[in-house]
């Protein structure tokens, strides 16, 4: 029996696709290339095998995702995770929120910010800088986007540089993308206890 997770959590669930993923043994050469399958690396997640149905997108998406979240310079990795988490909370992507809350906690070596966000949502007690970052990312993630000139001013007042602001826009926007794949194409399910 599968148990779908409905509440935000830092415990990363499994992801169960709502469509049938590409079968590795039936994958085309182009799909195998995009999946980075090699004789020593044959483990591919159900999520990536699902995205392999649209191999042209998958090929460009992975390097773009990595560049936005991990390239050096600009905003810190932990703060980019706040941008990702804010969008995931707006779109209620339980799986994405879990992964990126967990990464934030590990990068910061603290669960304080993500505990606050999951417990109190928009009323979370945050530092002025995290407050400005989270609020901007939430408003940008809405449909249509609700971020305005005042929200931008608050980012600058909180001390963010232009490069940091761009990275925040990118991380929140990127999760507008990721959430519409992960939350739409599958369900977050509680991991089965290992014997």
């Amino acid at each position: 029996m599968t148990r779908i997770v409905h509440k935000f959590t830092r415990t990363v669930p499994d992801w169960q696709p709502r469509v049938t993923p590409v079968k590795l043994e039936e994958a085309s050469a182009e799909q195998l290339d995009a999946l980075k399958v090699t004789p020593s690396n044959t483990k591919v997640s159900a999520y990536v095998l699902t995205l392999a149905h649209d191999v042209e997108s998958l090929k460009v998406r992975s390097p773009l995702f990595n560049a936005i979240m991990y390239d050096p310079g600009g905003m810190s990795r932990a703060e980019r995770e706040v941008g990702a988490l804010a969008a995931s909370m707006v779109n209620r992507c339980i799986y994405c929120a879990a992964v990126h809350a967990d990464r934030h906690a590990k990068l910061e070596k603290s669960t304080e910010v993500t505990d606050q966000l999951f417990l109190n949502g928009p009323n979370a007690r945050l530092s002025p800088r995290d407050r400005a970052i989270f609020d901007f990312a939430v408003k940008l993630a809405k449909a249509p986007p609700e971020a305005g000139a005042e929200d931008m001013s608050k980012l600058r007042e909180a001390g963010l540089s232009e490069e940091e602001i761009l990275d925040l826009i990118l991380s929140s926007a990127l999760f507008g993308w990721a959430n519409r794949l992960m939350h739409v194409l599958g369900d977050p399910v509680a991991k089965t206890a290992k014997a």
Binding site: V19, S57, P145, A149, I165, L166, I169, L185
Partner: protein, 160 residues
């Protein structure tokens, strides 16, 4: 192509010599990959059930749903015979695409509410699993591009 000619930067009206332009230049690789991602969803070689003109029409529709008329015009120019779908007052039934268009609107604008039944409805309507993924990738990319453009406009101080 210069990064300032990419869809995101040109629709947002970002010029190289501005502070916002300088910031985007530090992320030139991301701006280039964003454009490559647009090509992959708007004009893929393997279109599945969704030809390029239909994709452009759906893109224009989502841009309009998000209040971005500048981006909508750009995609509308490529929408050919499907241009009518960019009108958010239509529901796709005239083109026999009511289920697809209904799903596309919901994923774009009411993402949190999307549930397993929505995917099941597409499958019941005969949309293949590969085409469901293609539809989601197009929609999801647009969500990103629209918000990148909205953020860039705010950075350079345009009214939202």
């Amino acid at each position: 192509m210069s990064i300032f000619e990419t869809t995101a930067l040109s629709v947002a009206g970002i010029a190289a010599e501005t502070a916002t332009g300088a910031a985007t230049a530090t992320r030139a690789n991301i701006m280039e990959m964003t454009q490559a991602a647009e090509e992959a969803v708007l004009a893929p070689e393997d279109t599945g059930a969704f030809p390029h003109e239909l994709r452009a029409a759906l893109a224009a529709r989502v841009a309009r749903l998000n209040g971005d008329d500048g981006l909508a015009e750009r995609y509308l120019a490529r929408a050919g015979t499907f241009a009518g779908l960019a009108d958010t007052g239509t529901d796709g039934s005239a083109e026999g695409l009511a289920v697809v268009v209904g799903f596309f609107d919901k994923v774009a604008a009411r993402t949190a509410e999307v549930a397993a039944e929505d995917i099941a409805a597409l499958q019941t309507a005969g949309v293949s699993d590969a085409d469901i993924v293609r539809l989601c990738e197009l929609n999801a990319f647009l969500a990103y591009q629209i918000r990148l453009i909205a953020g860039l406009r705010l950075m350079q101080g345009d009214a939202a």
